[in-house]
């Protein structure tokens, strides 16, 4: 069907062609022909809409497709021609046209979904950065001790002059007022005022500058005074002056320490320890070989003793000299490493003794805590004594008593010498306090001892020699064993075991300097290492007995007691202060008493009854427990801190009013009936100003 139709059409066209051969019509016919030809290739596509009038709506459907039509090719042809013409005649325009032609088309826009996504991302990022400005303000407000609402912000308000109530109250000046103002302003007084104001402006600045300069100059001068003073003081050579200065300093420090002791005893003890550590370190440097007080004393003593040559003093002089030389040689040795041989052990033991002795005797001039300052040393030792005493009082006191008794019993038949020496050794058991208190007697005994030794050259001499050796080596020997040895001094020869002990101890021994700062210990040999004291305490068997005794006491105490419920009868007085008279009518009463005695029912056996080494406290009061805090609450990390915070009172019973007020400030303060507005931007500004 279609084909036949087409054929018909063509034939018709051909007829038409023949019919109208005019020029005007030929075009029409031509177009029609072309259109008809198009039908050979199927239906023609929708022709692009041609616009005749301008429309408000621009629809996407109205745009042309980009396909080149014949019409377009024609047009481009024309365009080319036109361009060529233009290039020749108008080169500038041609250039511009070229630019347009070269311009690339923009890339396709993103799909709206992705576009919005990007927008959101950017928007969020911007807001995040914008809000950062609040961070500091918010943080400070959060941690503020006290914050008052409503916040006092610097509100920025821009007043509009036109419609502002503030200025509405002012009326325009009347002509008379204007006139008056003119006259007044032109007066001399007014002019002068103006000038003054201007001048004052600068004057104020000048004043300020001058003040500032003066301040600076003053500060500088003060600084220079201080420097000069220090310089002067340093240059003073007078020893007395420096001594006084030093004494003042130490006194001040002691005062401070006393204060600290009252306020915070633990800290005080710590400070004490640190001081000792410093001193020990200083000692360990071995800088002061023969400059110490002891060394100088030795030299002096040796000198005087040389002049008066007695049998006894000569010996002392020799002793002095030997001691000093030994010390010096020891210094050299001590700077090298120790090599311990069994053969040389005995000699070394002597050396080390000397060393320790010298250390305890030396006085350090450079250490202002120690140099010749007996007052301070006293204080330090006393304080330390106090603390250690407190700690170990219970376990020590009984032991020492017992040993004293034992010793006395055993050694009663012995010589005077023994009796005199005895207390020295007993001191080992006790605290330093005892050492101090008996120091003088110890010195005496030491002297006596020397004399006695010379006098008695027979049987006793041997024992005495041993005694002396032992004394010298005391520091290195385990004290508990000394005690046991001491108990059988007479018959046992302890030279050998001592040596062995020395060897053992030398390897581990360190020069102990804890006690070395007491100057009284210069002459005597008493030197006790606290570590060894502790050793001795825990090796002692008496501790166990002591414990048993304590436990027995507790058990006895906890046993149910009989309760006497007798009431005063006829003819007997009663009242608060009247005691029961049991003496009279004793046999009579006893019968009645038995009946009236309240017997407490049997209680289950104590929890620690079958545990020999434990005391379990059964009458612990559990009522306290429910009031006690279990853990350290959050802001605190240590129990100590939390306890301190609880211990510190806040009430006005204990604190002055102002302090009390400061302690009880409420974190949030609001004003009654006032609206609290949200935070303003002004808050940010305020911070910036500050």
């Amino acid at each position: 069907m279609g084909r036949t139709k087409k054929k018909q059409l063509i034939s018709e066209d051909a007829e038409n062609l023949n019919d109208y051969s005019d020029d005007d019509d030929s075009n029409k016919i031509h177009d029609q022909l072309i259109e008809n030809i198009k039908y050979f290739h199927g239906k023609p596509k929708i022709s692009p809409a041609t616009r005749y009038e301008c429309a408000a709506e621009v629809s996407e459907f109205n745009f042309r497709s980009k396909k080149k039509t014949d019409y377009n090719t024609k047009l481009t042809f024309h365009e080319e021609e036109l361009l060529r013409a233009i290039r020749k005649r108008q080169p500038k325009v041609a250039q511009k046209l070229q630019v347009v032609k070269n311009a690339k088309t923009l890339p396709k826009t993103l799909e709206s979904v992705y576009e919005r996504k990007i927008q959101r991302k950017i928007g969020y990022r911007n807001i995040k950065t914008d809000l950062k400005k609040w961070k500091n303000v918010i943080q400070t407000n959060r941690v503020a001790d006290q914050i008052t609402f409503p916040l006092k912000t610097n509100k920025i308000e821009i007043y509009n002059h036109v419609d502002n109530d503030l200025f509405s109250t002012f009326s325009n000046p009347t002509p008379l007022e204007k006139e008056l103002a003119k006259v007044l302003n032109s007066s001399n007084v007014a002019k002068q005022d103006k000038k003054k104001k201007e001048r004052n402006k600068f004057h104020y600045m000048l004043n300020e500058m001058i003040q500032k300069r003066q301040m600076l100059a003053k500060l500088k001068a003060q600084a220079s005074y201080k420097i000069a003073k220090a310089h002067r003081q340093n240059k003073i050579k007078s020893k007395k002056y420096h001594r006084i200065l030093r004494n003042e300093k130490t006194k001040q420090q002691i005062k401070d320490f006393e204060k600290l002791k009252e306020t915070d005893p633990e800290a005080a003890l710590k400070q004490l320890e640190s001081l000792e550590k410093v001193r020990a370190q200083e000692r360990a440097t071995l800088r002061h070989r023969n400059t110490g007080k002891w060394a100088r004393n030795q030299i002096i003593k040796a000198k005087y003793n040389k002049e008066v040559l007695n049998s006894t003093t000569y010996r002392i002089y020799n002793l002095n000299r030997i001691a000093l030389s030994e010390q010096l040689s020891k210094n050299r040795e001590l700077t090298q490493k120790l090599h311990i041989d069994e053969d040389s052990a005995a000699e070394e033991s002597v050396d080390i003794n000397v060393r320790i002795k010298t250390k305890s005797n030396e006085n350090d001039l450079n250490n202002h805590w120690l140099d010749g300052n007996n007052e301070y040393a006293h204080f330090v030792t006393n304080y330390k004594k106090f603390w250690e005493e407190k700690r170990e009082k219970e376990c020590f006191s009984d032991i020492s008593h017992k040993t004293v008794v034992n010793n006395k019993n055993e050694e009663s038949p012995k010589s005077n010498l023994k009796d005199e020496v005895l207390p020295q050794d007993l001191l080992l058991l006790n605290q330093e306090k005892m050492v101090k208190s008996k120091k003088k007697s110890v010195i005496n005994t030491a002297k006596k001892y020397e004399d006695d030794k010379i006098e008695k050259n027979n049987k006793n001499i041997k024992a005495a020699d041993k005694k002396k050796k032992k004394k010298e080596k005391r520091k290195t020997i385990n004290q508990s064993e000394i005690l046991s040895e001491y108990l059988n001094t007479n018959d046992v020869d302890f030279a050998k075991p001592e040596k062995q002990k020395l060897i053992n101890n030398l390897a581990t021994e360190l020069p102990d300097t804890v006690l070395a700062d007491d100057n009284e210990a210069v002459d005597d040999d008493e030197y006790i290492c606290p570590a060894s004291v502790m050793n001795m305490v825990f090796t002692d068997d008496d501790m166990i007995e002591e414990f048993k005794k304590e436990k027995n006491e507790i058990v006895e105490h906890s046993k149910a007691q009989l309760v006497d419920k007798t009431l005063p009868g006829w003819g007997s007085w009663t009242g608060a202060s009247i005691q029961k008279n049991n003496n009279s009518e004793k046999p009579k009463r006893s019968k009645i008493n038995k009946r009236l005695l309240y017997k407490i029912p049997k209680v289950p056996p104590r929890k620690d009854s079958n545990k020999g080494h434990v005391i379990i406290n059964e009458d612990k009061n559990n009522k306290f427990k429910e009031h006690l805090v279990n853990d350290v609450p959050f802001p605190f990390s240590q129990v100590k801190d939390y306890e301190a915070s609880i211990r510190a009172p806040v009430g006005r019973t204990w604190l002055p009013e102002i302090v009390h007020q400061q302690f009880i400030v409420s974190p949030v303060v609001t004003k009654l009936g006032t609206v609290i507005e949200p935070i303003e931007n002004g808050e940010l500004l305020k911070r910036n100003e500050n």
Partner: protein, 445 residues
């Protein structure tokens, strides 16, 4: 004869003027005042007991609504008035000092969805089920007789909530989309959409006033920038957020009342997880409002209780309930930081004290000092078990008590199961995920 007389210098004990401070000779020697800590502990114990004795938070009840109350609005710059709307479409304005209804009107057909006062207190806007937005005057003389609204806008879609800009005459509504309106124009200035069909609640940021937050029925919270961009971020939670309140003192913090019994505080700079989880309610949290100090907020819940949370803490410091109060629909914290107002399903508005044992009214200086001292003592000994116990002790309704136990049991069960799983699998394969990280499922860009 010589007579000895005690003589003192009057300067030491007499005041110069009548208004001078009394001179009180004191001896602060600590030996004279022993047992500081134990004595203060006893004082703290007494004061905490007294606090519980005087804890009577309920002030009064405003009744008059004929139906459950759906919305509540407070004035942004004044204390005395509040407005409430109910399920029957009636709006009432209340005078709080007198505890009386000032004005009432049948405003909408269907229930009143939202109410919001304008920035200058002079008007308030209501939105209703009937898709209308009505602007009403809030002047006192206007209240004398019921009248027509100042203007009425018709919306194309249903509106669920409204929030007024704090400074300008703009307001935002939420419904099918978040719309930004100007009071003088009948068409929205801007429609901000982000693929959700229904938004429940909208809230303008009171500090950075261009920020807006909406919560939607698809469990999401959407953040908007009203200036140019529109929606900027969306987070999807495990469950739906019912209401949102901005912290008025911290520009980037807001808290949401969630359907999963918790309230969550978010920092908009980091929305991946909430800053804090506030738990304690035993049913869906329906409403939330910040205290003007930003330190605390109040939540109302479907479990018929109101709870007060400190914004930095996970558990509530206070619970309010009465026998007759039903599901709480709205809560609001008065702007003087003193009172809490709650509305509930059973047609009543209740007034509460924000601090249960606080003495109302003007305090004399000595009274004030005594309270301050008591407070500081309570704080000092707060960790002592007895004090903690007394401070925490509350009488709560039985159903809440039981619910709480149930919730605890179920939580324990979950954690136990997880622990078992962890125990019996390869180390590291079942990681420990903190509770906060479980809340936000997705953060949409």
């Amino acid at each position: 004869m010589k007579v000895k007389v005690l003589s003192r210098n009057p300067d030491t004990y007499l005041r110069e003027t009548k208004k001078d401070i009394h001179k009180i000779p004191r001896n602060y020697d600590p030996n004279l005042h022993p047992f500081e800590a134990p004595r203060e502990y006893v004082r703290a114990l007494n004061s905490i007991k007294l606090e519980r004795v005087f804890a009577k938070p309920f002030i009064g009840n405003l009744d008059g609504h004929q139906d459950g109350i759906s919305c509540l609005a407070k004035q942004p710059h004044a204390l005395s008035n509040i407005a409430s709307g109910d399920y029957s479409g009636e709006i009432r304005v209340w005078d709080l000092p007198l505890r009386k209804c000032k004005w009432r009107i049948q405003a909408h057909n269907g229930f009143v969805r939202g109410l919001s006062f304008c920035s200058d207190n002079s008007r308030f806007i209501s939105v209703g089920q009937d898709k209308t937005i009505k602007i009403w005057s809030a002047d006192d003389y206007y209240f004398k007789a019921p009248d027509e609204p100042l203007s009425v806008f018709l919306s194309k879609t249903l509106i669920n909530g409204i929030s007024h800009h704090r400074k300008e005459t703009k307001f935002a509504t939420c419904g099918d989309a978040c719309q930004l309106w100007e009071e003088s124009r009948t068409e929205p200035l801007k429609i901000m959409e982000w693929g959700v069909d229904s938004l429940q609640h909208v809230a303008f940021n009171p500090v950075e006033t261009y920020l807006l937050v909406c919560c939607a029925s698809d469990r999401s919270i959407i953040l908007y920038d009203t200036r140019e961009v529109g929606p900027i971020r969306k987070i999807i939670n495990k469950m739906r957020t019912n209401q949102i309140s901005w912290n008025p003192m911290e520009a980037y913090i807001f808290s949401g009342a969630n359907e999963d019994y918790n309230a969550y505080s978010y920092d908009i700079r980091n929305l991946k997880m909430p800053v804090n989880i506030h738990m304690d309610h035993v049913s869906a949290v329906t409403s939330i409002d910040y205290a003007p100090t930003g330190r605390e907020f109040v939540t109302g819940s479907y479990d018929k209780t109101i709870r007060i949370f400190e914004s930095s803490k996970g558990h509530s410091r206070e619970i309010y309930h009465t026998k007759r109060m039903q599901h709480v629909t709205n809560v609001c914290w008065s702007l003087d930081n003193k009172y809490i107002i709650s509305t509930s399903d059973e047609m009543n508005i209740r007034l509460w004290k924000a601090r249960a044992s606080e003495k109302l009214g003007v305090l004399r200086p000595r009274e004030k000092a005594a309270f301050e001292y008591a407070n500081s003592l309570k704080e000092k000994f707060a960790h002592h078990p007895q004090i903690k116990r007394i401070a925490r002790h509350r009488q709560i309704p039985r159903h809440i008590y039981h619910h709480k136990q149930q919730i605890r049991a179920s939580k324990q069960k979950i954690s136990r199961k997880e622990a078992n799983k962890r125990k019996h699998s390869k180390p590291g394969s079942v990681p420990f995920v903190p509770e906060r990280k479980k809340v936000v499922i997705k953060e949409d860009v």
